[in-house]
Amino acid sequence: MNQSADEQPLLPTKLPGPQGEAQELLQIWATPHGWRLPTEVNNLVIGLFYMGAALMFFVLAGLLALVMRSQLALPENDLVSQGLYNQLFTVHGTTMMFLFAVPAVGALGVILLPQMLAARDLPFPRLSAFAIWAYVIGGSVFFLTIFFDLAPRGGWFMYPPLTLTEYSPGDNEDFWLLGIGFIEISAIAGAIEIIVGILRTRPPGMSLDKLPIFAWAMLIFAGMIVVAFPAVILATMLLELERAFGWPFFTAAQGGDPLLWQHLFWFFGHPEVYIIFLPAAGLVSMIVPTMARTRLVGYRLIVVALIATGFFSFGLWVHHMFATGIPALSLAFFSAASMAVAVPSGIQVFSWIATMAKSPGKFRVTTPSLFVLGMLFIFTLGGLTGVMVAMVPFDLQTHDTYFIVAHLHYVLIGGMVFPMFAVYYYWAPKFIRRKLSERLGRWVFWLMFVGFNVAFLPMHVVGLLGMPRRVWTYSAELGWGSYNMVSTVGAYLLAAGVLLFIIDLVRNLRASEDKEDNPWGAGTLEWLPGDIYSARSIPHVTSLEPLWDQPGLASQVGAGQHYLPNAPTGGRETLVTSAIDAKPQYVMQMPGPGWAHVLAAVFTAATFLLLTVKAVIPAIVCAVAAVASMLAWAWELDKGPAKGPVEIGAGISLPVYASGPSGHGWWAMVVLMVVGGSLYLAYLFSYLYLWTVAPQVWPVAVSDMASLGWPLLAGVCLAGAVLSFRRAGASLAEAGKKNSVTPLLTLAGALLLALAIWMEMYGHWQAGIRPTQSSYAALIYISGILSGQLALATLIMALFTMARHYAGLLDRVRRATLENTSLLAYYTAAQALLGMVMIHGFPRMVA
C-alpha cells in the first residue's frame, strides 16, 4: 500500500478519470440473457428473483388461509374435508414461516446489503445463487404436495408422537422433515454469506459505529440463524431416523421423549420470530429517519436493543411449553426471560416515536410511512398480548386457543409483513426505477390495515370463549359463528389489499428510464448513483448518513472519483476491509455467471426429494452429481495473487489475494464451524436431556458398554489426522513448484479422521449395541453420524486439494484451499474427541 488507509484519503480523485471505466464495469457485470439467465449470480438479479419467489409463496400461503377462513366462516361447514384442513393449516404455517418470512428477509439482505455497503456484490455470489435455487426448487415441490394429498398434516411444528409413523403413516410428514431440513441448509448458506459480507465488504471508513441499522439487524439475523437453525436440523434428523429406521428418540417406551422434539424445535422456533422481526425492525429504522428528515434517535440504544433481543430470544423457548407439566420454577425462569425481551423491543418502538417527534418539519406521511405506523400499532398490540401469554397462569387459560392465533399473527404480520410492504414502497424506485403509486398505495394500506384488524381482533375474543386452534369446524351452539364470519370478511379485505399491491407492482414493472437516484432524500449509501455493478465507485465514509453529511458525495461517486472506479483485475471484484474499522485490506476477485452452482442446487434438491419417497439409489446418484457440481464450482474460486497488487484510487495499492485469517474464505469456514458447533451442542443437550428423562436405558455397568480400547485407538488416529494436516500446511512448495509430500499428508489426514470415527462406531457395534434398542443406543450412533458426515466432507475436500496441487494451483502463497480443508479437519477432530469423552465418560461417571 503506497498510502496508509488510516490517513485521510486523497479523495475525491481529480477529473477527468480514464475513459471507458464505466463501460468496462457494465461489460464485466452484464447480465446473461436468454437461456443463460439462470447462470447469473449478481445480487441485484438473483435478489429480485429471490424476493419474487418469496412473494409468490406469501400469496400462495395466503390463498390457503382464505380457504381455511371460508371453511370456518359458518358453523358445521363442509367446504373442505377434515383431512384436507389438516394439510391446509400445516402447509400454510410452514410456507409462511419457512418459504416466505425468512427467505423474504434474506432476499432483502441479498439485494440491499451490497448497495448499503457500496460493495459490488456479496462475497460469495455463487453461494447466494445456490441457496436461492435450492430454496425455489425445494419450496415449490413442498408446496405442490397439497395438490396430491401428500402434504404433511402435523401442524407447522410437527409434534411427535402424532408425527411418528404409527400415527402418521405415508410420506406426508417426510416431505416436511426432508424438505424443510433442506431449505434450512439453504438459509444457513445465506446467513454465512451475510455475516462475511457485512463484516468484510464494508466501504473504507464505515467502522462498526457507522454501520447502517439494517446491516446491524442483518448481522444479528444471520448470527441467530447460525445458532438456532442447527437445533431444528438435528430435530428433523432424529424424527426422520425414527420414522425411517425406528431409532427411538421420541418413543417413551424405549427411553425417548416427545418433549425432546419440543425443546429442540422451540429452541429454533422462538428465535425464529425474532429472526423475522429484527431485520424488519432494522428496515423501519432506515425508513423513519428519512421520512422524518432527521437522524435516528438513539442509534447506539437501537444497536444494543437488537443485540439484546437476539440473545434474549434464545431464553424463551420453554414459554411454548408452559402446559407440558414442567416444574413451576423452570417456567418462572422462562417467564422472566419472556418479559425481559419486551425491554429491548420497547427501546426500538420508543426510538422510532422519538425520531418522528423530532422531525424538523412535519413527518412525511407517505405509503411507506403508513405501513410503518400500521406496524407500530399492530406489533405493539401483539407485543402486549405476548407479555400476557408470558405469564404462566394466563397462558394455561389460552393455550392452544384462537387467542394464540391472534397473538402470533399480530406479532408476525405487524412485525414483519407491514414493514415488508413499507420496504416495497420505499425501495421500489431503487430497483424498478420508479415509485409505486401513492394513491393506490394508500388504498393498499387501508385495505390491509382494516382487513387485518377485522380478521384477527375478534380471534382474541373467540379464543377467550374457548375456541381451540386447528379445528376443522364447530357447532353452531357454541356461539362462535358471528366472530368467525367477521374474521373471514376481514381476511378477504386483507387479501384485496395484497391483490391491489400486486396490480400496482405489475403496472410499474415495465422498463422505465425516468429513474431518480434518491427520490426520498435519504442519507445512506444504497441511494448512490449506480448500475448493475452497484455504486460507480466505492466511497470513503465518514458518518452514519454519508449522503447528508458529505456534500457532493453522490456526484463524486457517480463520476468515479472514489475507490475502485474500474476493474483493475479485469473481472468482477470488490474491496475487502477489516471487520471493526473497515480499513482496506485487499481486492477480492469474484466469480461470474456459471452453471455449476445451478446444477448443484438442482441435484441437491433432487437428492432430498428422492430420499423422501425412499428412492435410495437415484438419490445417491444425485448426491454424487451434486458434489461433482460443487467441486466444479469451487475449482474457479481461488484465483491466486498473480494479477496484483492493483491501484484502487487515492494512491492506495492493494493485493488481490489473501489467505489464512485475513481471507474471506477463512471467515466463512469459521462461521460454518459455529454452525457445526451449534448442531453438536443441540446433540449434547439431547443426550443429557434423555438421560434425565429415562436413566433406566443408560448402561448400568461398564460391561454393557464398548471397550475403552476402541476410543483410545480412535483418539490416536484423531491426533494423527491433526498432525498430518499441520505438516501438510508446512510442506507446501514455493509458487510454481510441486511437493509430493503435501498431497500424501492431506490424504493421510483425511483418512485417519474417517478411520477414527469408524473405529468409534465399530466399538459400539462390537459391544452388541444396536441403535434401535433404546434412546441411549440411538444417541451414541448419532454422535458418530454427526462427526462422520464432517469426516466425509473433509475427505472430499482433501481429494479436491490434492487435485489442485497436481494442477499447479496450490502453493505456499495460493494456499486457501488447504487451509480451509485443514480448518474443517481440526474442527471435526475436536468434535469427535468431545463426543467420545462424553459417550464413554458420562455413563461410567453415573453408572
Partner: protein, 123 residues
C-alpha cells in the same frame, strides 16, 4: 493467527468482550435451568436447588459488574491496539448497556427462586 488490529484474532476477542453481558446471561440461564432440571429429576432437596440458583445468580452478577462499571478498561485489556480503534468508545458503551440489560435479566430470573417451589409442577 494474526492479532494485529483489524485482524481476526483481535476481532474475535473484541466481539467476545463486547458481548460479555449477554454471554454471561446465557450461561446463567443454561446453568440455572440445567442445574434445576437435573436436581429435580435426580431428587436433590429443594434447599440444594435454592442455593444453586442463588449462587449462580450471585456469581453472574459479580461477573457483570466490571462490564457495567469498567467497560473501557476491559476493552483495553482484551483488545490489542485498542487506542487505534475508531469505534472503541462505541464498543465500550455498547458493552456497558448490554451488561446493564443482562444484569436486569439475571436479577429478574434469579429472584423467582424466592417465590416458587423448587421442583413442584403446577398441575
Amino acid at each position: 493467527m494474526m492479532t494485529r488490529n483489524g485482524q481476526p484474532g483481535s476481532f474475535f476477542r473484541t466481539t467476545l468482550v463486547s458481548l460479555g453481558g449477554p454471554l454471561i446471561w446465557s450461561l446463567h440461564l443454561a446453568l440455572v435451568y440445567g442445574g434445576q432440571h437435573i436436581a429435580c429429576t435426580t431428587g436433590t432437596t429443594a434447599r440444594g436447588v435454592y442455593w444453586w440458583v442463588i449462587g449462580i445468580s450471585l456469581l453472574a452478577l459479580a461477573l457483570l459488574l466490571p462490564f457495567v462499571f469498567l467497560p473501557h478498561r476491559l476493552l483495553r485489556r482484551f483488545t490489542p491496539h485498542h487506542s487505534s480503534l475508531r469505534s472503541a468508545h462505541f464498543l465500550a458503551e455498547l458493552m456497558r448497556l448490554l451488561a446493564i440489560l443482562a444484569t436486569g435479566a439475571v436479577l429478574w430470573l434469579g429472584l423467582s427462586v424466592f417465590f416458587i417451589p423448587a421442583c413442584a409442577a403446577l398441575f
